[in-house]
C-alpha cells in the first residue's frame, strides 16, 4: 500500500483518485458512445434493407424462386444471443447484491451462449440456400451478419476478459469495503467495466432481435 502519510504522497494519491474517478466515468461514457457509433453502423444496413426493399429493383428484392434462410436456425441464433444477455443481466444484479460466484456462473453461461450464437451464425452463413448476390435481400443478409457476428465475437472476448479478471478479486470485496484504497479501486474498475459490457451486450441483443424481425418475420 502506498505511503500516504507524507504530503507529496498525499497529493499524489489525491491526483490518482481524480483520474480513477475519471476512468470510471470514461467506461460509462465510452460504452454509450460505442452504442451510438454502432447504431450508425447498423443504421447503414437498416437503410440498405428498407431502401432496397422499397425500391425492389428489377423485381428482385427477393426475386422469383426465392428460398428464405432457415427460420428455425435464425430463431435459435437470435435466442442464443437473448439468453446470453439475459444470463449476464441476471448475474449483474447478483453481483450488485454481493454474490460474485453467481455472477461468475451466469457470466460463463452468457459466454457459452454468446459463442454458440456466433458459431451457429457462421454455420448458417456457410450453408445458405441462396447465393449472396441473387437478390437485394440476400445481399443485405449476407452482408450484415458477418459484421454482426464479428462484433458479437469481440463482445465475447470482452466478457472473457471480465471473467478472467474476476478470479483475482476476492469475493468478500463485493460484500464489504476492501482493506486498501488500491483494492477498492480495483473493484470499482471491475464493476465499471462489467457495467459497460452489460450495456453494450444488452444493446447487441436488442439489435439481434430487431434484425431477426426484419429478416425472418417482416
Amino acid at each position: 500500500m502506498a505511503d500516504t502519510t507524507s504530503p507529496v504522497a498525499a497529493v499524489q494519491a489525491e491526483d490518482e483518485g481524480f483520474y480513477h474517478e475519471s476512468a470510471l466515468n470514461a467506461a460509462w461514457t465510452g460504452s454509450r458512445l460505442a452504442i451510438g457509433g454502432l447504431t450508425f453502423l447498423f443504421g447503414a444496413f437498416l437503410f440498405a434493407y428498407f431502401y432496397l426493399r422499397s425500391l425492389n429493383s428489377s423485381g428482385r428484392w427477393q426475386g422469383s424462386g426465392y428460398v428464405p434462410p432457415s427460420l428455425w436456425q435464425g430463431t435459435v441464433i437470435m435466442l442464443l444471443a437473448e439468453v446470453s444477455a439475459g444470463a449476464n443481466y441476471f448475474g449483474l444484479q447478483r453481483i450488485k447484491a454481493g454474490s460474485k460466484s453467481t455472477w461468475q456462473i451466469s457470466g460463463l453461461v452468457a459466454l457459452a451462449f454468446g459463442l454458440a450464437a456466433v458459431a451457429f451464425q457462421i454455420y448458417q452463413l456457410a450453408t445458405l440456400p441462396f447465393p449472396p448476390g441473387s437478390s437485394g435481400y440476400s445481399s443485405v443478409f449476407t452482408g450484415f451478419y458477418p459484421v454482426f457476428l464479428t462484433i458479437q465475437l469481440a463482445a465475447m472476448i470482452w466478457l472473457e476478459i471480465v471473467l478472467a479478471r474476476s478470479r483475482f478479486i476476492p469475493a468478500m470485496s463485493f460484500v464489504e469495503q476492501p482493506p486498501t484504497i488500491a483494492d477498492t479501486q480495483d473493484v470499482q474498475k471491475f464493476q465499471a467495466n462489467l457495467s459497460a459490457f452489460s450495456a453494450t451486450w444488452n444493446y447487441l441483443a436488442l439489435m439481434a432481435l430487431l434484425f431477426w424481425f426484419l429478416f425472418y418475420a417482416l
Partner: protein, 656 residues
Amino acid sequence: MAIQTQPERAEPTGRGPEPAGAAARPWWMRPGAHTGLVGAVIGYFLGHWLGNFLGGDFARSGLSDTNDVAIVLGYAFGVIGWLAGLGVFNDLGRLMVGKPMPEEPRLLGLEEPGLAKYFRYTLDHKVVGIQYLYGMIGYFLTGGLFAMAIRSELLSPTYHLIGPEQYLMVVGEHGTMMMMMMSSVILGPFGQYFGPLLIGSKRVAFPRLEALGFWLTPAAYIVLLSAVVMGGFPTGWTGYEPLATQATQGMDAYFFAFGLMGISMILAGFNMIVTVINYRAPGMRWSRLPMFVWSMFTVSFLQVLAVPVLVGACYMGLEDRTFQTAFFTNQLGGSSYLYQNLFWFFGHPEVYILALPGFGVISEVVSVFCRKPLFGYKIAAAGMLGVGILSFFVWQHHLFMSGINPDMRPLFMLTTELISIPTGFIFLVGMGTFWRAKIRFSIPMLFALAFYFNFLIGGISGVFLSDVPADTTEHGSFFVMAHFHYTIMGGLIFAFMAGIYYWLPKMTGIKLNETLGRVHFWTMFIFFNTTFLPLFALGLMGMPRRVFEYARNLETLNDWVSISAFLLGGSILIFLINFVMSMLFWREPEVGNPWRARSLEWQLSTPPPPENFKRVPVILSSPYDYGVKDALPVADLDPPPGVIGAAYAPADAVEA
C-alpha cells in the same frame, strides 16, 4: 499567478529508472515499425494465398494475375500482421488471463531518449501527436505531387504526358489522399497533442485506441498507393457505383484504404470525446473550454457517428467485388443510388470534419494575436455545434443531379442554406475579434487572416452552389472544384500551417525560421489564389472535372493555372526546406511563451513534461481574458492539498 512568458524548460529526465522487461531490450529487438513491416509482409502473402485458395476460380483481371478475394484478404491479413508486429495485441493475451495492465513506461513516451519511441506503439498522447504531424505532412506532400501531375497534363488541351486512364488514376489518388488522409490533419497532430493539455489533463481516456488510430493511417496510405500498381481506380475520391463494381483491382485498394482510415477516424474521435467529457481539470467548465477543444469535440462526434456509415458503405463495396453480393447492382435487386446515399451521409459531415478544426485553430490564434478576448465565445461554440448537427441533414444536395425526386430538392437546398448561418456565426466571431484590435502580424496570424479571406470565397460560392439552379448548371465543372478547394485547402491547410507555426515551438522546443516562414506565407497565399480563382472562370466557361482533354479556347487560362500551381508547389517546398533545416540543422531554441498566450499549454515547460502537469491543475478563468482588467490567471498549476480531492469526492466522504 501572472502569465508566464518564459516558462522553464523541462528538466532533462535522463534515462530515469532502468526499464524492465521488453523496454530493456535494444530498439531493434522491441516491437516497432520494423517488426510491423515484417508482420505486414508475412500477413499479406498469407492472406493472398488464402484468397487464392478460397476464390481461385473467381474471374481474373488482365491487369493482374490474382483475384479480388486474394487482394482483399492480403490487405486484411497484412494489416493484422502490421498491428501484431507493432505489438498492438501484446496486452490482449495478458488481459485474457486476468492479469492487470502492466506498468506503463509507454505512457511516458517523451521520457525516453532517442527517436525509437516515434516508431513504436507508444501510448503517450504527445508522442502520438508528433507521429501524426510527420505522417500528415508526408500524406499531404504525396497528394500534392499527384496534383502537380494533374496540372502538368492540363498544360495542353490534348494528351501529352499521361493517358486518359492514367489521368483518372492520378485524379483519384490525389482526391482520395487529400480527402481521406487529411481528415486527421488537425485532429491528429494538434488534437491528440494539445487536447489533453488544453483541458488540464495528464492523460487521455483510451491511450491504446488513440495510438492504434495513428498506426492505421500508414497502413491506409500504403494500401491506397498500392492501387497505382493495379491500374488505379476510375471513380475519383467518391467511389461511385456502378463504375466501382466494374473497375479493376485498384478499386479494392480504394475501398479497403478508405474503410481503414474510417476506423482510424472513429478511434481518434471516440478517445477525444470521452477524454473531453471526463478528464477536464476542476474548474474547466464547458464555458471555459478553449475553442479549439470545442472544435475537436464537435468533429469527434461527426467522426464517431458519420464515419461508421462510410465504413459500412466501403464494406458493402468490397462485398460486391469479392463475395459477389449485389448491394449496388440494379439488375440483381441492388441500387447504385444506395451507395450514393450512404457515401454522402458520411461525405457531407466529412466536409465539416475538414473545416471545423480549421476554425478551432484559427480561433485560438486570433485571440492571442489580437490581444483581445474572443468575441462572442458562446456564439462560436453554439455555431460549432449547430454546424455539426445540421451537417447530417444536407447530404442529398450531392444528389441533385443524380435523379432524386425533384420535390426533395427544395428541402435539401433549404437545409444547405441553413448551415451557412452557424458557419457565419463562427466566421463573424473572428471579425468581431479583429474589431479595434492591435493586431500582431506574426506568421500564424498571417495564415489566420488568409484563412478568413479564402474561406469567405469558398463559403459564399458554397451558398451559391446550394441553390438548385446553380448546382444543376455548374455540377461536375471546375467551378465546384474551385469552391471546395477554397474551403478545404484555403481553409483547412492554411489553418494547419497556422497551427504548425503557432504550436511547433511548444511541441519541439524549436521555432521555424521567421524569414522563410514569411516567404512561405506570401507565396502560398498569392499562388493559392492565382491557382484556384481562375478555376471559377474555367468552370463557368464549361471546363469539366476529371477529363484530361478540353476545348482549345481554355488553354491560356489552364496554362496560367498550371504555372500558378507549380509555384504553389514551390511555396510548399519552401515550407519543407524551412521545416527540415530548422528541425535538423538550425535548431533555434524557443523554450518560453513566444506569443504571450494565456492558454494552458503555454504555461508549461517546453516541451511539456511527460505527465503534462506536476499536479492536476485548477482552472480559474477563461483562456481568452486578454486585456481584461483584474483577470485571474488561467489556472493554479500547484493547488494546495485537498482541493482536487474535494472536486471529485463528496464532502461527507472526505470527512469520513
